[in-house]
Every structure is written in structure tokens, then in C-alpha cells.
Amino acid sequence: MSTTNYTMKRSDLNRCWLSWMQHCACGYNYAKMMGSGVAHVMRIPLSKFYDTKEEQGREMEKHLTFFNTEPHIGSMIIGTVIAMEEDRSHGEPIEAEDITKIKSSLMGPFAGIGDSLIQGAFVPIFLSIGVSMGLQGNLLGPILFALVCCGVCLAGSHYLFFQGYKLGKEAITKIMSSGIFQQIMAGAGIVGCTVMGALAATTVTTGLVFEITAGESVINVQSTLLDAVFLGIIPLVIIALIMKAFNKGKKPTAVLFVTLIISFVLGALGIIG
């Protein structure tokens, strides 16, 4: 076995991070999901650590497995795997299965945290702010959203990648169980729900449009009766109904179409608007 005893430089690691962000999903497929992307990252360190093509190919075999996670938070796993490969090439007793095990045991939890934090809370909070500005034709809305979210996604994944490389697998497991992600999620949940509430109030403006004739007088049900009780009572009822459908496990597409059809029919009949 001829290893080069090479230690990754900062520029090599930057290249690996770039390769991960670029390749993790550009050929996303049902066979290996992001596993193919991992292979693309690992070509960089493996070709540094081992001299011959045979050894590089042999070491690559363990990276041709199924892998799927959230790319930004998950870049930490890739950093750790590179550190483990480096130690392995330096002769430390790390088996190929150890590396495979770390990948397969961390990808699920990282996907869960990453998806709910980034797609579920972080992006929607800033998107809501951007959309509420965009609805009024304010060009700063999309620009603010793009700068903040692109910046945080890229800088965050870069930081986590280097942390993963530096800290190694013990530290990752420690961070995962320390509860810091739970605290961040709880905070994001509070901010997210508040912003969503405000957005619901400004965008879901469904109301009753028909009028009742009672003898001589014409009563507008919405403005004279419902609005006096609570502004936006109908939007809240609609949201409660949709949440109930989701909690029962109905598919988003089904809910989307049922809502579309019901509101269209009621609107066409002149009941809501």
C-alpha cells in the first residue's frame, strides 16, 4: 500500500466543499440519490491520498453507496468523512465499514434537522417578508430575500463543512445530542409561526360577499355581522380546516386541488370572494 501521507490544505478543502455543493444533486437520481455526488467529492481527497489508480479506485468503492441528506447541514458529514479518509491513509485503524457506517448513521438525522430548519423555517420566514414586499411592487423584497438566503446557505454550509473536517465524528455526535439544534428549531418555530400568522392575515382575505334582504333592509353578512366579532374569522376557519386535512395525512397536491375547486365554485356562485 503506497499512501502519500498527504494532509489536506485549506484550498483542497475549499475545492471539496465546492464540489459537494455543485455535484450533490446535479445528477440527482433514484438509484443512489446524493451518493453519486459523494463519489464526486471523494475523487479529490482520494487522488491526493493514494498514488496509484488501482488504490484510488479501490478506496472509492465504499463511496458508491446510497446517500441522501440535506446538502447544507449535511456538508458537515462530508467534512468528517474526508477527515476519516485522511486518517485512514495515514495508517490509523479506520476500516472502510467505519466510514460507511458514519455516513449512513448521520445522513438521516442531518436530513431531518436540515430540511425542517432550512426549507421549513429559515427560507419561509425570509420568503414571507420578501413576498409581502413584492406584492406591493417593492423591488427590495426579492433582492433582500436572495441576498440573505443565498448568503446564509452558502456561508453556513461552508462553515459546517470545515467544522466537520476539524471536529471529526465524536464531536458531531456530541453536537447532535447536545440539543442546540432543538433550541434553534424552537426559536425558528416561534418566529416562523408569527410571520406566517401575519402573512395569513394579509394574503388570505376570503370573505362572504352575498347580502341578505330582511324585509326592507339589506344586510351584508361579512361587514355587519362577522367583522364585528373578529376580523378575519373566515380565513382562520379555512386555515384550521386545511391543517386538519394535513394532520389526517392528506397529500399536499390533493389539498391544493380540493381548495382550488371548492373556492372556485363558491366564488362563481357569488358566496365568497
Partner: protein, 253 residues
């Protein structure tokens, strides 16, 4: 719409959403209809109108998520093609929401197809990988999937822009009043789905009160969204660290 505008819109869609160019953060950031509405508006020479249409289409996709390659609809196509067709046919924002929602559901089949076809090239790629033939590995992973992505999305969107603008305009021009009323009702109701999709992942029995708080602040006090987000962040600090906040710096750490 000129041919060049249609080609540019198709190319824009490809570059932003193909996942190869990391600066765009495709499905996470720049692929959202809010951004593509503005971009398509710029291409068509009507930036502000495009932005307003894009923002309206985006209402349905606020809580949109792609978990493990499983997604319900395709907001990116709703944003680019929806805005392009809406601008070309002078549709109202209400009509654009309906148009975008339908396009998003239809276009999503393309994504499933793309991921399935990509699987066909994996064996070739892995053969190269085991021989440490890096350029071969890159070729089989990147080139076929990117070419297919362009054909499926870039080219198709260009063609849809060119061929779809007129029929859509014709349909919208002759809408009877009851259909317009139906569209208006959809436009004010459908954003609830986007909001609930997001609430599904962040709301629990405690944070539901913050949802009500945000709702009341906006509907009764017309509060600015950024101010409200900052206040909510303060509330979050209190809720999470409340009892544990030290009186002075360095205490009880």
C-alpha cells in the same frame, strides 16, 4: 413575446434550477417564484408587473419543501412559465395564481421523470469511478442529466412561452363574469394552502399562539412584517432562555 425572450426565459429557468450552479441555490432561493417573477419581468421589459405576479404565484408555495426528492408541485415552473404567460396575456394576479398552480402540478411529473432517467447512467458512472477514471465519472454523472434537464425544462419552457401565450390570452379575454369571480375567490383562499404547508412543519400546540399573535398584529394593527419578525425573535429568546438569562454578563454561565 419574441423568440429571443422565450429562449432567454428557458435558459434562465435552466441555469437557476439545474442544481449545478451553486450561487443560485436553485430550489432553496433563486428558483422561488418571487425571484423568477422579477427576472421574467426584466426579460419581458415589465419588471414591476412581473414581480407582483411572481409574488402572487409564490403565495401558494411559501411552505413548499422537497424532502428526499419527493415534492408535491414544481414552484419553479409556476414562477417562470406562469409569470411569462401571465404577462404575455395581460392576466390579472388572481388569474396568474390559478395558472401557476396548475402549471406547477403538471410540471412536477417532469422532475420524477428526470430523476428516474438519471438512474440509468449511474452504472456507467460507477464503472469509471472504480477505475479512478475521474473525467469519465464526471461525464456520465453531469452531462446526460444536465442535457436532459435542459430539454425537459429549458427548451420546453421556451416552446410553451411561444405556443402558449396566445391560447391563454384568448381564453382569458372571453371569460364570463362568474369565472372571474371564481378566480378571485381562489386567489384569496389558495395562499392558505401554502401557509398551512409550512405550519405543518413548524407549528405545535405552543407555537399556535404565536400564529394567532402574528395574525392579530397584522389584521388589527397593520404591523410591518420585518418589525414583527424582530419582535418574534425577541419573544423566542425569552421563551427559550427565559429563566436562564443571567442578570449580569458572565453570571450563571
Amino acid at each position: 413575446m419574441t423568440v429571443w425572450q422565450a429562449v432567454l426565459i428557458g435558459l434562465y429557468h435552466y441555469v437557476i434550477n439545474c442544481k449545478y450552479f451553486i450561487l443560485t441555490q436553485g430550489q432553496f432561493v433563486l428558483g422561488r417564484p418571487l425571484i423568477s417573477g422579477l427576472a421574467v419581468g426584466i426579460i419581458m421589459g415589465r419588471p414591476v408587473e412581473g414581480l407582483i405576479i411572481g409574488a402572487n404565484i409564490n403565495l401558494v408555495y411559501l411552505g413548499w419543501m422537497d424532502v428526499g426528492g419527493m415534492r408535491a408541485t414544481d414552484p419553479a415552473v409556476a414562477g417562470t412559465l406562469g409569470t411569462a404567460l401571465a404577462l404575455a396575456s395581460n392576466a390579472s394576479p388572481e388569474e396568474a395564481i390559478v395558472l401557476g398552480s396548475i402549471l406547477g402540478v403538471v410540471a412536477n411529473f417532469g422532475y420524477t421523470l428526470w430523476m428516474s432517467v438519471n438512474s440509468l447512467f449511474v452504472p456507467q458512472m460507477e464503472k469509471c469511478a472504480l477505475k479512478a477514471n475521474w473525467s469519465g465519472m464526471k461525464f456520465w454523472y453531469i452531462v446526460p442529466s444536465q442535457v436532459i434537464f435542459y430539454l425537459l425544462y429549458g427548451l420546453t419552457i421556451t416552446l410553451a412561452c411561444l405556443l402558449g401565450a396566445e391560447p391563454v390570452a384568448n381564453v382569458l379575454e372571453n371569460l364570463p363574469e362568474w369565472i372571474t369571480n371564481g378566480f378571485n375567490a381562489v386567489a384569496v383562499t389558495l395562499p392558505a394552502v401554502g401557509i398551512c404547508l409550512n405550519l405543518k412543519s413548524i407549528m405545535n400546540k405552543y407555537t399556535v399562539s404565536f400564529f394567532i399573535l402574528g395574525f392579530i398584529c397584522a389584521i388589527y394593527f397593520n404591523m410591518n412584517m420585518i418589525v414583527l419578525a424582530i419582535l418574534a425573535a425577541i419573544a423566542a429568546v425569552i421563551a427559550i432562555f427565559g429563566v436562564g438569562i443571567p442578570a449580569r454578563k458572565g453570571e450563571s454561565e
